[in-house]
Amino acid sequence: MRRNALACIAFAALIVELAAQTAAPPRFQVDPLWPKPLPNHWLFGSITGVAVDAQDRIWVVHRGGDSLNARTEMSAATKPPTADACCVPAPQILAFDESGALVANFGGPGAGYDWPRSPGGIAIDAKGNVWIAAAAAAQAPPTGRDAPKVDPATLAKADSHVVKFSPDGKFLLQIGRAQSPAGNDSKTGLNRPAALDVDPAANELYVADGFGNRRIVVFDAETGAYKRHWGAYGAPPDDADPGAYDPSAPPSKQFRAVSCVRIAKDGLVYVCDRRNDRIQVFQKNGTFVKEAFVSKTTMGDGSVWDIAFSRDPKQQFLFVADGQDQKVFVLRRDTLEIVSTVGGGGRWPGAFYGVGSVAVDSKGNLFTGENLEGKRVQKFVRR
């Protein structure tokens, strides 16, 4: 009797195991009417980060006026305005509920911190605090026939910090000083950090550092104290420029544009090595585990822009936003094999231009943010 019961349990377990092994990739359908239209003639700028919090609110960070055309796009925000009705940049941090209603908005300069000249990614930690990376490149001198002569010393340097806010936008912590780009060995500074994630288990902040540096760097999420860092394959990062990506060359020993870092529940750390068209996987201590190439022939901005995990207990699938090929790849997380894709190029619902951010809610719905001239956040309903 007891043996039968055990056999039964074993059989049931086997079924579950088989089901797990053969789970079909999730399928999605775009919701063209999400989120609801923004109030006040607000516009999204280029979207650089999307995250979902514990209440399934969708948080979005975008570049605002920095990425909007003053002549044609934010005509109601210029001085003098050139149109009465439209449009003005929305506050740079926005949160939406599941219905698509705007439930929070803040952002901009304030006391005690440096607002990014241009933001990178966004993360919401277990306490609901909002982290953003400051990812702007150094200010370019004005160009063109009528460009004024500018003293190079007055041009802004690259962004080089991350900022933490409470859910209602109160400043809490800044790591790194603004416009003080630091090298790959710095324990206090950053260089164009692109994205971040918080490990609730250790209360550590992981920073993808980034567009200027070539490393993952870990800080105490409470104090901002430096903990550790590493480069590609877990080796020390190198400040030397590895040059342009060549798909036929041996895999690069250094990262090229570290655009995301995501920590899975099983403790594996997934890193977007964007211009190398690859994902590298590490343990939390920086030990290299494995890598996988995605659309290896992609040139330009590269293929691996952001990563999110499916919401089943085992996080069986990985979603990879590819803003150069204009799609989201669905990968099996165990094998890193591509099993499906979502999207295509275009400006209509379900199509992308510069899809660079991806996140998943508790129901398994997928949210994307488009950078460049995409400038949308979209919802793909899990079917």
Binding site: P32, L33, P37, L43, T72, G300, Q324, G345, K375
Partner: protein, 393 residues
Amino acid sequence: MARRRDVAIGMAFAVAIAGLAIAERAFERVAAQDRSALQAPKFEVDPLWPKPLPNNWVLGQVIGLAVDSRDHVWIVHRANLLPANEAAADQKPPIASCCSAAPPVLEFDPAGNVVNHWGGPGEGYDWPESNHGITIDHKENVWIGGNVGTDAHVLKFTRSGKFLAQYGRKGKNAGSNDMENFGRPAKIFVDAKTNEAYIADGYGNRRVVVIDADTGKFKRYWGAYGNKPDDTDIGRYNPSAPPAQQFRTPVHCADLSVDGLVYVCDRPNDRLQLFKPDGTFVKEVFIARNTLGDGSTWDVAFSRDPQQKYLYLADGKNEKIYILQRDTLQILTSIGDGGRQPGQFFGVHSIGTDSKGNIFTTETYEGRRVQKFVYKGIGPVTKMDQGTVWPSK
């Protein structure tokens, strides 16, 4: 004599009194007619029209739209001006698996499928540096203009894309009184009754030109208020200055209504001017008169009832479509707002209607879409600005 004068005065007085009474009644009618009593066509966007384009195609700036007798929607877009990172599959070598520029001219069936496509340089004609405006005439021929640099001509093709005629010679525009060439023509309208083509001319010139649609021979042309056009630079538009006596470039549309009025988009002047087909000025109306820069009057389309009771006006600066009552030129309401979601606009540029009364729009700049707004009948106006008109979920 004295008596006769008295009678004349009395009559004049009576006429004046009667006139006053009529005016007063009219005034009362208008006063009583609060906005909720106004009726206007209603629309909601179809967020899933058209269908996704085949072949990883993407659109450049969509700067022309026409609807033909089969309710097929034609667009023309700037395929040649897509950035490398967007037309990434077209680069040599390719940057990525997506995307490729769609051919410049696309024809959609009513369901939103691409059913034909063509365009680009070919034998016997000069493809524009920057194509602009598309129309399909009563003989099923397709016309396009061009609005950059040397574009001084319009082209006519069969609906399958076979070249038929070029009117005007590339690079030969001699100004707003040239009788053979155009100055970066923006849009063409063909009058089936007279077989005349009305050209909004344009980005370089300051006039409307009427040509024979079969021979291209210039028949007549005129400037603002029916004046002889003058290419003297009149500076930037100033809303508080007296109305300009010349069009400001671009003259962006010239469309003829069923009752024989030519509606001209004097875009940076924020106005429509109305003319008889012979160029006699009839009246003008200002729209969003404080709008600077690109201006507010981008393109017009007529409602599809027999009288064309309503006028739809695209404003790519304020990002909306105004719905006007055509006889009074009163703005009844507007739809649309800025943004990248369905029913929103970035640079709403061209507008057309199909036989069912649906509106189609295109967007230039980084909007780069064609959208469909489904006609939902006539109903009371509840808001001056309706904003984004979505179907209920």
